[in-house]
Each structure stands twice: as structure tokens, then as C-alpha cells.
């Protein structure tokens, strides 16, 4: 499962698909997940606050392909923060759709008081709850997590989801989480840093 997918499931770890995380941070976390996927695919890199395309070949995943095309199509925008804000706007629906296509989630439209709200409900509760459980067990083991898992853990910490994931874990797990981000490869470490900064900026502005 790709980074943004797992982040989505961690952030909506609930039988009715309700968000565990406020919308601003959810969107930014998903956006960072999408950019992170492209970094891991070797298509882009992040340094000095800018995104640079390294390889224009489309990745296998349709959404990752779309995001890469967007990056290639608008070379005048390079700032990581711009792309985080832009991808955050559609993060929930684009990643939600990807999970729906994969059969993990089911679209559910509900009408309440003139407003139609769209949510993504888990098809199999255990499968949807798995990423959070997996992250928790990862931190209970002494060996360091793989790079994709470390990135996911970094995004969980950057968006403020740590307590949701580590609710039952001991201080050792919290300590290991603190070591994970500094050990990330430089582009991913910077991506996590910008995500944390963007989430903090959203809190400071007082926007939901």
C-alpha cells in the first residue's frame, strides 16, 4: 500500500470513515504522502524548499502519474509549500478515490440538511485498521523501520497524530519515533519538516 493510502487510513481510523484529524492537517499529510511517493519512486526530489522533477517517466500508479504530470506541467511553481497547499485541497478525495478503486473503501454519500457529504467507509474494518496497528508494532521492535515506513511515521508525527497511533505504546516507542525522522534521507526529512511547518502555520492562522 502506498504512503498516502496508509496515511489516509490512519487519519480516518474509524468504522464510519470519520476523520480523526482536523481537515487542514489531513489534507497536508495526504499531500506530503503523494509527494513522498514520487520521491520514493525516484521521480522528484526536495531540497532547499523546492521540488525538482528528476525523471519524467510516469509511475505505475494512476494518481502518482497525475501528480507528476501536474508538477511537470507547471514548472513555474517549485516551492514545496505551494505544492503541499495545492495538493492538500483535493487530498481527501483523490486518495479516497484511489482507495475506493483498490476496493479498500466504499464511497458513501449522505444527505443531511441540504448538504451532501461524501465519506469513504471501510469495506473491511480490519484491513482499514491495519496500518495504524502495523505502525505501532513497528515502533515496538528494536530494528529501525524501512524508509517508506519511516516517512509515514514522520508524517504521522508532523500532523499531530502521534497520540492516536501510539495511544497504548510505552515511552520507548515514543523515543524511537523521535529518532525516525532525523534518520530519514535528506529530501524526505525536509518534506516532513515542511509538512510540520505548514500544519503549524494553519494552526497559527486559526483556519480549520
Amino acid at each position: 500500500m502506498l504512503i498516502a493510502d496508509e496515511f489516509f487510513l490512519v487519519a480516518h481510523n474509524d468504522s464510519r470513515g470519520k476523520a480523526k484529524l482536523h481537515p487542514a492537517a489531513t489534507g497536508l499529510g495526504l499531500a506530503a504522502g503523494l509527494l513522498g511517493e514520487l520521491v520514493l519512486f525516484g521521480r522528484i526530489t526536495v531540497s532547499a524548499g523546492l521540488v525538482t522533477v528528476l525523471d519524467r517517466r510516469p509511475p505505475a500508479d494512476a494518481l502518482a502519474h497525475t501528480v507528476l504530470d501536474q508538477l511537470i506541467g507547471e514548472p513555474q511553481h517549485q516551492a514545496v509549500r505551494t505544492w503541499l497547499s495545492f495538493l492538500a485541497q483535493t487530498g481527501v478525495s483523490s486518495v479516497g478515490e484511489r482507495l475506493a478503486r483498490a476496493g479498500v473503501l466504499r464511497r458513501q454519500e449522505s444527505r443531511r440538511l441540504l448538504r451532501t457529504s461524501l465519506s469513504y467507509v471501510p469495506v473491511d474494518l480490519n484491513a482499514a485498521a491495519w496500518p495504524a496497528t502495523r505502525l505501532r508494532t513497528l515502533l515496538e521492535r528494536p530494528e529501525p523501520p524501512s524508509v517508506p515506513d519511516a516517512l509515514l511515521l514522520g508524517l504521522v508525527a508532523a500532523t499531530g497524530l502521534t497520540r492516536e497511533v501510539l495511544w497504548s505504546a510505552g515511552p520507548l516507542a515514543h523515543h524511537r519515533l523521535g529518532v525516525v525522522v532525523p534518520a530519514l534521507p535528506a529530501p524526505l526529512k525536509e518534506l516532513v519538516g515542511h509538512t510540520e511547518a505548514a500544519v503549524g502555520a494553519a494552526v497559527l492562522r486559526g483556519f480549520p
Binding site: 476523520a19 480523526k20 484529524l21 482536523h22 487542514a24 492537517a25 532547499a48 524548499g49 525538482t52 522533477v53 501536474q70 506541467g73 507547471e74 514548472p75 513555474q76 511553481h77 517549485q78 505551494t82 505544492w83 497547499s85 495545492f86 485541497q89 508532523a158 500532523t159 499531530g160 497524530l161 497520540r163 492516536e164 523515543h175 523521535g178 529518532v179 532525523p182 534518520a183 525536509e190 519538516g193 515542511h194 509538512t195 510540520e196 511547518a197 500544519v199 503549524g200 502555520a201 494553519a202 494552526v203 497559527l204 492562522r205 486559526g206 480549520p208
Partner: protein, 507 residues
């Protein structure tokens, strides 16, 4: 990808990010909604007349507005080049060095907390007529204050920033009520003729002038927040400066006019005595005589909602300040945590609420006067702290532009902030001299020195703490002043200083 290729071509990214962008009116609304005009007009101005006994308050608003407009010239110019631009200490950290920034941050924390907690002192007086009307009786002030406190504490945690639309409606209603009251006051002058006596400059040549200048500054608190919306505004180069200047102008015009019309209605010679007798009820009593009971009831209800809105807004501001400092690790990292579901700065909000509770209980148990000793002292004490911050920031602006090569004009980078710094320093000197008058205590009261001394002590301790951080925790030192952006401090934002980029795993 050469940056030269930036011709104006259609961009999905720009378009979709521009959709929610704010124009000048929206930013002004954000700024003014924190200002809570009726709180200032009905509460601060009347209590100000009563405590200081100085009649130059209308003029003081205009003088302070002129100084703040001058200050804003350099302030908005520097804001564009700064991360975390909403907080004065960020300017100080960039302009005068990080240790000074920590000192300014501590001063800011105290000042904003004083302003917020002070508001609990007025809520009892504001609620009394409303409760009287509904229930035919009213409990002790601290009961009302505790109810308001609980409301603020819960809303702060849920981060229900009172809905923007509700705030806008309340704000417009408040301003309308104030203007209607003002017109009634002007059209029914005491003694039959409108007196301009309180607008004469010699009202500012009296011993208490420093006191009313601080009081006026309190009324402007919040004008600095327009710069927060730099990234969200349609055109940061135009929107933010326009919104800042217009906010200052609107606040100045409204408060000066209202403070003046009060003196017209009572007669310049009677305003101090009338304020002492009637306190926060003064403008409602004046309105009642000419406009009837309905207008008064509406005004009193809006005074209550205005205070509540101000409490919530200052609570959130203060909590965000502590949150930003927590993110920098200047305060414990705990303060930088948010509640996942709401995004509220949970620990910072709880800490602010705890302080409010302690102060309310303390005043209730000790039996101190809530209106003068909590509301007015909190408001003016906090306002004095904000004044110190603004003055320091104006110096920081000069220092910043002296070191940074920019295309700004000499007026923006040196002359305007320089004049503002001189004027603000003069105001501070007079204010310290007049502090006994500001508080309404005897000239030999220890409080007269104790309250203003809080700030230099805090600034000094903060400065020392900043120096300690430089020696012992360079990773934290590098983050000072960056607020939420400190998360990327290890990367390129760090200016060339002896800040090793080394990252220790365990903090």
C-alpha cells in the same frame, strides 16, 4: 527549469490557491473583530476617564494612531521578508538577535495574558443589566466570570473560533450602536452647545498624558495581526499594508469620536465625575436619556457579546503565541502540541485557561475590585507591554534593514520607523512617569513601580535564557523566532551563525 520562464500563463495551481484569497475588507474584518469596539468604548474609555481623571482621551487615540501608522510603514515592509510575521518577537529576533527575541516573547506572553485575563473583570459589570432584565437579579461578578471562563476554556479547546460570519454581524452591530449613541450624545450636548474643549491640544499637556496614551494603545491592540494573512491575501504587497493602515484609521476615528461625544453629552467638566459615578453604565445611561430603553437594552447585550468575543479572540491569540513558542522549543515542546481532531493548540489553551481561573479565584477570595483592579489594570498593564513591544519592534525594523540589502525606500526602512521609535520611546518615558495616574493609585504606592517593572525583568530573564540556549542547545537557538516554520529550521532558513546543523536524536 529556468525561473525566467515565468510569463503570465494560465496555472491551475495559482488559480486554485487564489480562490480563497482575502481582499482588503476581509482582512480588516479579521483585525477589527479582535478589537471588540464596544468593549473599548463602554469599558476602557469610561473606566479610563474615571481612573486617570484626564480628559484628553479622544486626542490620545488620534496621537497613538498617528504613531502606529508611522510604525506600520516599516513593520509591513519587514513583514514581507519574515516567517512567523504575526508575532512581534519574531521581528525582534531577526532585527536585534535571538536572545532579544526570547526576551520580547516573554514580554508578549505576559502582556497578552494580562489583556485576556483582565477582560474577566468586566464581564460581571457587563452582564449585570442583562441578567437583571431577564431574571430580575444578578449574582456576584465572579460567578459570571467563571461561567464566561468555562465557555472560553471549552471553545478554546474545541477551537470553535467564533464563526467569522457571526463575528462580522456582531462587529457591524457594535459599530452601528456606537455610532447611533454617538450621534445622540452629540445632538444632546450638556448646556445646549457642543463643546470641542476636550479636543484642544492642551489636554495633552497635563500630568496624566502618559496614562491615557497607554490606554489608547490598549484600544489598538490587534492592529498588528493583518500581516498574518500575507500568504492568504490577494496581493500581499498591497492588501496587507492597506488593511493595516485602514484598521488603524477606522479604530482611531471610531474611538476618538466616541470618547469625544461622551464629553459633549456630559459636558467636558463633568465627564470624569460622571464616569466615576456611573462607570461602564455611563454610555448606556446617556443613550437611555435620548434613545429609549430598547436602544439601551440592545447596547447592553452587545457590550456583553463584545466582551465574550474579545475574551475568545485574546484567548486564541495568547494560546497561539504559546503554541508558536512550543514549536520553537523555547517553551516546552508540549505547548506545540495540537488536539488531532480540532487542531486546537491544546496544552497552550489549557495553560491560558488555568491562569484565568487562578486569577478569577484570587480576586474573588481577596475581594479586590474586578473593574478597576482587574479589567482596567489588566488592560492598561497589558497595553503597556504591547507598547514596549511595538517600540522594540520599530528599532528591530531599522536594524534589520540596516543589515539587509533591499529595494525599500529610505522612508520605509529608516525614517518612518526611526520617527516611530522616537515617538514611542517618548510615550513610554511619560507613561512610566505617569504610572501612578494610570493605575489610579497614590504616587508612592509600590504597585506604581511593581507593575511596569514586570516587563524589563521578564525581558532580561528571557534574554539570559536565550544566551543559555545559544551555549547549551544550539538546535533550539537556531529555531528562535521562526514559530511554526521552525520545523524546517535545520534546512536553508538558518542564517549563517554558529548554529551546527547537527541533529541529536534525543532532545
Amino acid at each position: 527549469m529556468p525561473p525566467a520562464a515565468t510569463v503570465d500563463r494560465p496555472s491551475n495551481v495559482s488559480d486554485s490557491l487564489a480562490r480563497g484569497r482575502l481582499g482588503v475588507p476581509s482582512v480588516i474584518f479579521f483585525v477589527l473583530s479582535a478589537a471588540a469596539p464596544l468593549t473599548v468604548v463602554a469599558g476602557v474609555v469610561t473606566t479610563g476617564y474615571a481612573v486617570t481623571g484626564v480628559t484628553g482621551i479622544p486626542l490620545a487615540f488620534l496621537v497613538v494612531a498617528a504613531v502606529l501608522a508611522l510604525f506600520s510603514v516599516g513593520y509591513v515592509a519587514m513583514a514581507r521578508r519574515l516567517t512567523n510575521a504575526g508575532a512581534f518577537y519574531a521581528y525582534v529576533a531577526r532585527g536585534l538577535g535571538r536572545p532579544a527575541g526570547v526576551g520580547a516573547a516573554w514580554v508578549a506572553l505576559i502582556a497578552y495574558n494580562a489583556l485576556q485575563v483582565g477582560l474577566y473583570g468586566a464581564i460581571g459589570a457587563a452582564a449585570e443589566p442583562v441578567l437583571q432584565q431577564i431574571f430580575g437579579g444578578s449574582p456576584a461578578w465572579w460567578v459570571v466570570a467563571l461561567v464566561a471562563w468555562a465557555l472560553v476554556a471549552i471553545l478554546g479547546l474545541l477551537r470553535v473560533d467564533v464563526n467569522g460570519m457571526v463575528l462580522a454581524v456582531l462587529l457591524v452591530a457594535e459599530i452601528l450602536v456606537i455610532l447611533v449613541f454617538d450621534v445622540a450624545q452629540v445632538s444632546h450636548p450638556a448646556g445646549g452647545s457642543v463643546s470641542f474643549a476636550t479636543l484642544s491640544p492642551d489636554n495633552l499637556l497635563v500630568p496624566g498624558v502618559g496614562a491615557i496614551l497607554v490606554l489608547a494603545t490598549t484600544g489598538f491592540t490587534g492592529f498588528e495581526s493583518a500581516v498574518v494573512f500575507s500568504e492568504e491575501s490577494k496581493d500581499p504587497k498591497r492588501t496587507v499594508p492597506m488593511a493595516t493602515y485602514l484598521s488603524v484609521a477606522i479604530i482611531a476615528a471610531l474611538y476618538a469620536f466616541s470618547a469625544w461625544t461622551m464629553t459633549v453629552a456630559t459636558g467636558p467638566a463633568r465627564i470624569v465625575d460622571a464616569s466615576r459615578e456611573q462607570s461602564t453604565a455611563l454610555i448606556f445611561n446617556l443613550a437611555g436619556a435620548h434613545l429609549g430603553d430598547t436602544a439601551v437594552t440592545i447596547g447592553q447585550a452587545l457590550f456583553l457579546t463584545s466582551l465574550l468575543a474579545a475574551m475568545i479572540s485574546f484567548h486564541n491569540t495568547t494560546a497561539r503565541y504559546a503554541f508558536a513558542l512550543g514549536r520553537e522549543r523555547v517553551l516546552p515542546a508540549l505547548f506545540g502540541q495540537t488536539s488531532p481532531r480540532t487542531g486546537a493548540p491544546r496544552v497552550a489553551s489549557l495553560a491560558q485557561s488555568l491562569l484565568g481561573l487562578v486569577v478569577i479565584v484570587l480576586y474573588a477570595v481577596a475581594g479586590w475590585d474586578p473593574l478597576v483592579q482587574l479589567f482596567f489594570w489588566g488592560g492598561t498593564g497589558g497595553g503597556f507591554g504591547v507598547l514596549l513591544l511595538i517600540a522594540t519592534t520599530s528599532v528591530a525594523v531599522i536594524a534589520f534593514f540596516a543589515r539587509t540589502r533591499t529595494g525599500e525606500t529610505l522612508w520605509r526602512r529608516a525614517i518612518a520607523p526611526g520617527l516611530a521609535a522616537i515617538a514611542l520611546t517618548a510615550v513610554i518615558v511619560v507613561a512610566v512617569d505617569n504610572f501612578a495616574i494610570l493605575l489610579g493609585v497614590a504616587p508612592d504606592s509600590p504597585l506604581r513601580w511593581a507593575i511596569p517593572a514586570v516587563y524589563p525583568v521578564a525581558a532580561l530573564l528571557g534574554l539570559l535564557w536565550g544566551l543559555v540556549l545559544r551555549g547549551s542547545r544550539p538546535d533550539v537557538y537556531a529555531r528562535i523566532g521562526l514559530g511554526a516554520e521552525s520545523a524546517v529550521a535545520e534546512a536553508p532558513l538558518v542564517t549563517p551563525e554558529p548554529a551546527p546543523a547537527g541533529v541529536e536524536a534525543a532532545r
